[in-house]
Symmetry: C2
Subunit: 327 residues, 2 copies
Amino acid sequence: MEEHHVLGVDGGGSRTRCVIASLSGHILARGSGGPSNPLTAGFDCAAEAIQAAVEEASRRCGINSFEASVMGLAGTERASAMESLVARLTLPDLGNLKIIGDAQVALAGATGCRSGVVVISGTGSIAYGENDAGETARAGGWGWRLGDEGSGYDIGNRALIAALRDHDGRGPATLLTEKIRGVLGLGDLDELVDLTYRGNMGSEEVAALAGLAGEAAGEGDNVALRILEGAGVELGIAASAVIRRLGLTGGFKLGLVGGVFNLGPLIRMSLERSVRRTAPDCVISRPRFPPEVGAALLAIRDAGVELEDELLHTMEVSFEVLMEASG
Amino acid sequence: MEEHHVLGVDGGGSRTRCVIASLSGHILARGSGGPSNPLTAGFDCAAEAIQAAVEEASRRCGINSFEASVMGLAGTERASAMESLVARLTLPDLGNLKIIGDAQVALAGATGCRSGVVVISGTGSIAYGENDAGETARAGGWGWRLGDEGSGYDIGNRALIAALRDHDGRGPATLLTEKIRGVLGLGDLDELVDLTYRGNMGSEEVAALAGLAGEAAGEGDNVALRILEGAGVELGIAASAVIRRLGLTGGFKLGLVGGVFNLGPLIRMSLERSVRRTAPDCVISRPRFPPEVGAALLAIRDAGVELEDELLHTMEVSFEVLMEASG
């Protein structure tokens, strides 16, 4: 009997990743492409990026026909947006195709499709969870203008504001001022106004400044330390809101996803302190699988296969082998 | 001997106002026009708005030739922006023309061209001051993306964020949620995302929501009360930074300008508490003159006339008469 396969895709504002896996849980190939959030990249670019990622993976393992496909994509909450995107895809045989939110596939990856919560903090931030009854809840994720508290954007933006407050005497002195001046090549910090409003500094560029906060915190800068601590508290508040609304108790998994958790231990520590008040026994960890593998897991389940521990273990081992092979 | 006259203009993001005064301090006429911040309205519209305001005032008093003119305009910090604007003005005889910042004319109006500090909080916010040595300092005023703490935009934005935090369980319940849903005509608060990012809700529209915070605070809503209190503290911090940098002491005047101070007594109270720590004896009050009269005062001084108390008194009385006449 010929084995059947599934496709898992994770697409966001900066890149797209996919995996092809067998129904028994062997991950056979990976592929990657450019940004595929249709709201920021546009529908044509988003479709092209997905196409490129899938074609790369197909080329590597010789499989381009799928029993089921799951794509986790940012910016496709509205049905019309989803349709516009699907209409542009010219992939041969995606089987039963589902397009869902990027947070959903991240959760599936983080927990291996078990109930639990994932906190994602990259350029933006969101907490998303699911309980045993299949109910879901989210908190945050409202984008850079309406919050995204604790995100890379939020940290970068607070770093900019702290530098201006140092500059005009409203706030304490901070290493961030010189770091920002240096990185952005500003003669005077006043030039930041030009850069932001006339230069249309985007949320990705602001988020890129979060690294400076991590750096300054590492050098003991109090302002930067407070910014990172505050980000952890905010992410903890978002996680706690989801936990409460889903009635999660006991040792469920709380996965932490995204580059913000690489900015030093302080963010995770303050998140943990904040979450422990609501859920003292939850297991806080980095995700078991990346989101694209989470998408593949959901596709396997959609194809009617039970996600038993052995299958998850197979996924884990085959993904590691693949990662090592690609160096 | 024929009497000579001056022109004073105050232009901002929502409107332009001007007065024509004699060198002895009699205000003869007022005029108004549309927005004249060239950064937001464009240079052509800004020039037209100024033109319209001045022509209206000229028509009313029959005077269109000036010894000196002072225009306080937002968004003309750069010399190139100022030149672009002046090149578009076709007013007959402005005499010695000076274009300065909107905060400078507001300060001149608030203090009657004495040393002191003005805190302006409308759509944006800024603190600006001048000491007896003629040194100046500003704090804040970095625009909606980089701060404008304590401004109408800031208050409106915090109201939006508080509603979303109520909505997704991260924050306490607040009357703001229903008020915002009602005013913006949203079926579900999730629609706010569409409105903000795809509808490009501008900073003026966000600032317009500050009124809801004032309303909710008046009804005892704790979240709204905290937002207004926080705004007052922030404006106090900005004023204190300016006071410290200028070394102001004793009974100097601190003028409060802008619509935010009409949102209820709490903002002023918390500003006052915050400022008193730095400057226990300063005199906090609404401005003596509006900014366009401040501009005229500066123009009279530019024409070589000393601004004695009698002249200021003449200004005050003639302005009142004019306001009453225009109903």
